[in-house]
């Protein structure tokens, strides 16, 4: 199951408290020919309460877990994604998508399906195990869960092992689902996106799965007209991304990181 962090909601609620007294200060004291909420061109800027959004996300989250128990064979629509906000009527919500990338029969008669999924739920513990497998340093689980929840897109690869004898009904005993890959992107939903945390289980590397993950993520971002897609690649994977259409330091653009003194 996924850890719902309590720390993020407390920081969110303190953020929303700050905006409330502000409204009275500005509107009463100073008449302005430039309205604060609505600019002259009529573009209101939504500033909905962060706390409400967190609560709404939670409700959707539990709903998705409940309904996620229904077995699905490659249906494309799962549940309402948590990323929809009612203020953003015009931006398309990130629809959950799931389809089979590869299907093959193994020697012992088992059928293995590699399923690509975007917008679905991820077990944070599974992800932690996968990160350990690829040798990444451990990160706090609450932060990991928050990062996944608030990423613009999260794409995963799961391996599902099915016993070929079970053709109908009673699948629980004969189906084994394992997280074998993930990639996620943060974005401002309009211009920029950054891809973080691309990883594939070492046992499944070299099969083009990582390529498929990144390709689909990039394609989905481009479809939403997000033009600046960036990432920070370790030296050993620079060629991997170059083959996918990424360029190192294009036009002299470099990423700099903040380091506290």
């Amino acid at each position: 199951m996924i850890l719902i962090p309590t720390s993020s909601s407390s920081s969110c609620s303190s953020y929303s408290c700050c905006s409330l007294p502000q409204a009275s200060f500005n509107s009463n004291s100073y008449p302005s020919n430039q309205s604060l909420f609505l600019s002259k061109s009529g573009y209101p800027i939504p500033h909905g309460s962060r706390k409400l959004k967190t609560l709404r996300l939670r409700a959707n989250f539990w709903e998705s877990i409940r309904s996620g128990f229904v077995k699905n064979n490659n249906t494309t629509q799962l549940v309402e994604p948590p990323s929809t906000m009612e203020e953003d009527d015009d931006t398309e919500p990130v629809l959950p998508v799931e389809f089979t990338l590869v299907e093959r029969t193994l020697e012992d008669g088992l059928v293995e399906e590699i399923i690509f999924s975007s917008g679905g739920e991820i077990d944070v513990y599974d992800l932690q195990t996968l990160c350990d497998k690829v040798g990444w340093p451990r990160r706090p689980l609450t932060k990991l869960a928050a990062a996944l929840k608030n990423s613009y897109m999260v794409a995963t690869l799961h391996s599902v092992l099915k016993s070929s004898s079970s053709s109908e009904g009673n699948n629980e005993q004969q189906e084994k689902k394992k997280l074998i890959g993930m990639a996620r992107a943060t974005s401002d939903h309009a211009f920029n996106a950054t891809i973080w945390d691309v990883l594939v289980d070492p046992e499944y590397q070299g099969q083009g799965l990582g390529k498929a993950l990144v390709e689909k993520l990039v394609r989905a971002l481009l479809q939403r007209d997000i033009g600046n897609i960036s990432l920070f690649a370790d030296s050993q994977v620079v060629d991997f991304y170059q083959n996918l259409g990424f360029e190192a330091d294009p036009e002299g653009i470099k990423g700099m990181f903040w380091y506290p003194k």
């Binding site: 905006s19 500033h47 401002d188 950054t194 700099m256 990181f257």
Partner: protein, 219 residues
């Protein structure tokens, strides 16, 4: 850089910034820093983008240079941190005239005498986002857990080198670190690197390479 007067709460602040060279323009001017999205006027923001010669689409192959308003609205609403800096309109305008100083300095002095009363009145009025002009901006989006990316940090060219950009960068990083996010990245061109370096940014210590998607999508 002068002292800071806190007005209201932590999302708004009045400060003084000082310029090193001193022409006819006042030595230190008050600026108003806001971290609230509702203080942003989108038209003014788009104007600032063009005055700073800053494009939302970083790579020259993307976009036409004109900021799409609908996308800008989305980008602002989806940025987790926004910092806007305002100053009194006559301070921003006066400094711009300094570029033409050699041609019309005497004329400008005349005008200044005539409008000095108006300026005095403006000086007395407290500075707020509604009566101030947007002269600096910066925003960041994050995943509220591990990482954040800073974008579109810009200050009006005529008001640069006064510490405003550094104020904005520090405010953004402060807001992010207060939410326990320490992996903060900023994409910058070659000429922007010294600025970010001065704000405490550096090349990735893990030696990663910055890459951007540059392939055009075949239909």
């Amino acid at each position: 850089m002068g002292f800071a007067v806190c007005v209201g709460n932590a999302s708004m602040e009045l400060r003084w910034v000082r310029r090193s060279k001193c022409d006819d323009a006042p030595r230190s001017i008050p600026i108003f820093i806001s971290t609230l999205k509702k203080d942003i006027n989108l038209e003014e923001l788009r104007h600032l983008y063009s005055r700073c010669d800053h494009s939302c689409d970083r790579l020259s192959k993307n976009g036409s240079g004109i900021v799409d308003m609908k996308k800008l609205r989305t980008a602002i609403s989806r940025s987790d941190v926004v910092v806007s800096v305002f100053c009194k309109p006559h301070h921003a305008v006066l400094v711009e005239d300094a570029e033409e100083e050699t041609l019309s300095s005497s004329l400008r002095k005349q005008n200044k005498d005539e409008s000095s009363l108006g300026d005095m009145f403006q000086d007395v009025l407290p500075l707020t986002p509604s009566n101030g002009q947007l002269v600096g901006f910066g925003r960041a989006y994050s995943d509220y857990g591990l990482t954040a990316s800073i974008h579109d940090l810009m200050v009006l060219p005529s008001l640069q080198r006064m510490g405003i950009g550094k104020l904005i960068a520090n405010r953004i990083t402060r807001l992010l670190t207060s939410r326990d996010i320490y992996d903060i990245a900023a994409l910058c061109f070659e000429h922007e690197r010294p600025f970010f370096k001065a704000c405490g940014f550096a090349d990735d210590r893990m030696g990663s390479t910055t890459m951007m998607f540059t392939k055009s999508l075949e239909a």
